[in-house]
Amino acid sequence: MNSKAHVMSSMTLRRDAPSGGTQASRRLSHHGVTMVCWIALGPLTFWTIAAGSSASAQYPAPVDTADLVPPSVLSIAEAPFPEDVAAVDGPVTVLLSIVVANDGTVRDPEVLGGPEAFRAGAVEAIQASRFEPASLNGEPVEVRIRFQYVFQPPAPLQEARVDGRLEGLVTDVDGSPIPGARIQLRSSVQTGEGEAQFVGDDGRFVFDALPSGDYRVSIAAADYVAQEQLESVTIGEVTEVCYRLDAADLGASEGDETIFTAVGVIDAPPREVTRRTIRREELTQIPGTRGDALRAIEVLPGVGRPPFGGGEIIIRGSAPTDSEIFLEGIPLPLLYHFGGLTSVYNSRLLEQIEFIPGNFSARYGRRIGGIVEVEPRDPRSDGLHGVIEFSLIDASVLAEFPIGENASLALGFRRSFIDLIFENFLPDDIGVTQAPVYYDWQSILSYRPTSRDRLRFQLYGASDAFALFFDDADTSDPASSGDLGLSTRFTTLQASWNRQIDEDAELDVEAAFGPQTVDFGFGSDQNFDLLVNQFYLRTELRDRLSPRYQLTYGVDLSLAPFRINFEGPPLQQTEGAGQLAPVASADIVSTEFSAVATRPGLYIENEIRPTADLQLIAGLRFDYDDRTGDYAIDPRLVANWQATDIVRIKSGLGLFSQPPEFAESAPDVGNPNLDMIHSVHASLGVGLRLTEQLELTVDGFYKYLWDRVVSTEQGIEPFFINDGVGRIYGAEISGQLHASPELPLFAYVSYTISRSERRDRNQDAFRLFDFDQTHILALSGVYELPRDWSVGLTMRFVSGNPTTPVVGGIFDAQNNVYTPVNGRVNSVRSQNFHRLDLRVEKKWRIRNGQMALFVDVQNVYNRMNEEGLAFNFDYSQSQTLAGLPVIPSLGIRGEI
């Protein structure tokens, strides 16, 4: 029996009718021990505390004595189940009468009833328990109450160990614990009022022996703003959460809703070897990201850095196109505005971000790199809330509010300010037809028609556009003059339905539809227009057939009518291509065609727990691509072993497949007969949970790629073939320090050493991948200072990217340009990259809200990092292209 005070409880206030006083009852459950107490308060009004209340419920004032506050439990000592009692049929109750002193201690226990064998244990335990004393007119008072101590028969050990656990911390915004805060837990399949407990002096709480499923958690504390969160618990896993409550506005009138900024933290159940769940409230403070949680992916282990911070996601040495971003199971068409400036989805609407660098679940297909799963949250249902934020880059507004009893709505919009200043940075010979501007918008409607169903509708999108006019041709290419324009737009309507069929089965249905357009043009010779009307459907059923076996199966379908209009130099593989020739030297090709890309996928996963400590997940995925007529069957296996309370060992092996890009298989400019690209992932890792705050992980990985799509030699027909292979191997070490009341610092440290190589043709030797970065070190930390100040630093050190030397140029006499002669591909490296970012934020509490002022400085010491090489017109001279200089971004945010 666990002696820790892992209390599962449920409580509420309800009017009851025992005459002669106020009575409250509380049901508390330990491992095998249930305690029910009635709190009798003499001749005062009677109350009974018995079952869960709604999330925002406050203690109503007693009817007759408004200033009387009954004692509340702070901690209940656990009584051992008597060893000489062999078995009991059900709970055993010992009825006690106790005095709760005005310092919260218990004295003078009297046994009023109960089996003899249990009495001594109950008395001993109750004397070691602590209460928040009763108070009358604000002063602590001593009261005698009746307390019912109930022993539950101990559950079989094995059964207990396959339950899940939710544990965590409740603090104020400074990280100080809030003793006595009330946590109420209600299962999504539970129709009752759930269970509740009060946190102890250290602010911690634990709900143990929980069945797997989603839980709605309500957190309330006197003088703090209540909140409600949705958490998931999985058998055999610990879901750790941290709730940070804002102080209530004491100047507000009673009953006013006040704001809070607390967020839930959840370590999701792993279906992969390595799954890093990003804590939103931490990552929105990562310096250098301007509060953008999705930008903070860059500090995670295994994530490479694209030149100029261009927004491409490079995961464990994979090409950016090999990885996918999912928003609630649906691929997100675009992650960042203007190639990395800021993400297209408001971070304040995110519940969590999960980063899966490899060996991902069979749920995910059509990609051979890594996965980022972005989970939006439900809009707030406890009143109107809003956030307005201005920075030098953009401004955003977000509003969320309830609609009726079971629905809530969030609306967000953002617009950039770059267009207001852009012209000032351009040379005279470049005209601005349309200054760069981006927008994004989000709306989320969440509706819970029953306790078992959740419907969520989203409409979101983004638009980026700019258009310039180049009066004069570029120094080395006569084709680079005239209009340059780029616009990308997408709008997605997404609906999801989650149904908890019963305690063991859950159904997810997600569907999305929306147009995506890319329009690019430069001069008269380069045009690329793409229109995709993407339809995506995913249905997944998870059924726990026994405590040791869960079956998951699903289908996802990507149906994409698309139209491509291309005119320009012949398409070619850009990775490993070295310096490209000027457009003027190329024969212009064009194609225009429409088609429908139909890509169905089926998957099944068997999660087996041979023992409580061992989890095996065997998955199988089938994918078909009608553009190439090719299919793939990918088996995947993951094993997780909780070796000790501290050490977790994990490993995975699996196949992954991906269809070619649309353009690569397009007629006229590509090869419609291409096959799918494949890779095998193998990984082995160790996770160490050294303390409640400190975690370390070490992961090793190996990937082999084959059937990579590469250009034919010099672009002869059929232009693209599946002749490329690749190999990637490395190790990642990461540490996370979570904030605690004693040390309000959260910090990430990650180091990756890896090598990523490619071979384009059988006769070639392996060469380095364009973004092979041997060493990637990221340090990031934010320290919460008193008076609502916070300061954070992010430091990154990354090996320079490989580059292909240009050994000279050949004069193209027909077009009057030089074409570069590339040396050995990626045979030299740029200088190492390092950069320090700083973020300082100060908050002020105001009536019904708060304001924050922040400054986010990128590249504090103005390091001129080498991002590439520029060449003169005949390639006889070169110079380095420097990255972005120091960029301070000042912003202000207001919340109500």
């Binding site: 120094t475 690329f528 027909q814 077009n815």
Partner: protein, 320 residues
């Protein structure tokens, strides 16, 4: 695509390079190859069985230098990108070599074989040196080129260039291209530009026929125009609507900087202009007599036609 745009944005906003302007004629530079079919000198495309003369054109900032050329002609492999290559199925058609004393240009003579494959292009690849001979090791024996051997000249002090061009071999003479006409009008700061055998650096303060610019002076407009006849109609492959060819005017100047290195004269726009920035004081000291500065314009039709125009203006000392 996003990266291209982003890099472009950075390149235009924050990353000005420190290279010499490409328009600056500070050393001997290749201008191109001019083709002329024997017996029909305006025509640039030879038919099968015809002979074509190739002149190697250079620009010199000062005195001209002796020139040399070595190369080969072959059937071009149909490629999409990369260094041009001979089609190994056909071998080398001819090895070409020519030398010329200072002031002259090497002239190569090539006869197109009667059995030149239909629909294919002729590839000419070679090296040319200003000041001395081409390194004989450069000449490939089998039509493949060692592009890592980029020391074109025998003597390191000479200036060498690798060059290549492709030439269509039409079946019908009506499809053949003709060399573009010379530009019909050229003005600098509103004054006509002088042509003729003018030498960079010669005194010019007394010459009234030259536009006068001063060291450190403002940018002035260079206007060039072509006659409508210069733009031949052509029918792009796979298209039924005829278009006119586009003239590309390349600029080299012996001092200062041209705002653009290329002007594109399109069918409906027969005049193009750019600006010329006179040399700054630190760059040039023309002396009290002024100095002749030259502008070399190469006019291409993009189909093998090339003519060169050498014009001049007078650069005076900065305003006192």
């Amino acid at each position: 695509m996003k990266i291209v745009a982003l890099l472009l944005l950075f390149s235009v906003s924050a990353c000005e390079d420190n290279f010499d302007p490409p328009s600056l004629l500070a050393r001997s530079r290749i201008l191109g190859l001019a083709f002329s079919v024997e017996g029909d000198p305006d025509r640039t495309d030879p038919l099968r069985g015809e002979t074509v003369d190739l002149r190697v054109l250079w620009a010199f900032p000062n005195e001209p230098l002796p020139l040399s050329f070595q190369g080969i002609a072959c059937v071009a492999l149909q490629t999409g990108f990369g260094v041009p290559t001979c089609d190994p199925d056909f071998g080398v058609i001819a090895e070409l070599e020519a030398n010329a004393p200072a002031g002259d240009m090497p002239v190569l003579t090539l006869r197109v074989p009667d059995d030149f494959p239909e629909g294919r292009e002729l590839l000419l690849f070679g090296g040319t040196c200003a000041g001395g001979p081409v390194d004989t090791l450069l000449l490939p024996a089998d039509g493949s080129f060692d592009t890592s051997a980029l020391d074109v000249c025998e003597r390191p002090e000479d200036t060498g260039e690798l060059l290549q061009t492709t030439l269509p071999i039409p079946i019908d003479i009506a499809d053949a291209n003709r060399s573009p006409s010379l530009l019909v009008d050229m003005t600098l700061a509103g004054q006509p530009l002088a042509t003729g055998n003018l030498q960079t650096g010669d005194a010019c303060s007394e010459r009234k026929d030259l536009p006068l610019l001063r060291v450190g002076g403002p940018r002035v407009a260079l206007v060039v125009s072509a006659s409508p006849e210069s733009l031949e109609p052509l029918t792009p492959e796979g298209d039924v609507n005829p278009e006119n060819e586009v003239l590309q005017v390349g600029l080299m100047i012996t001092s200062g900087e041209a705002n653009a290195n290329f002007l594109l004269i399109e069918a409906d726009d027969l005049i193009e202009d750019t600006t010329i920035r006179p040399a700054r004081e630190a760059e040039r000291s023309p002396g009290s007599d002024g100095s002749i500065e030259r502008i070399i314009l190469s006019v291409r039709d993009g189909r093998g036609g090339l003519v060169v125009q050498d014009v001049a203006y007078c650069l005076l000392e900065a305003e006192p």
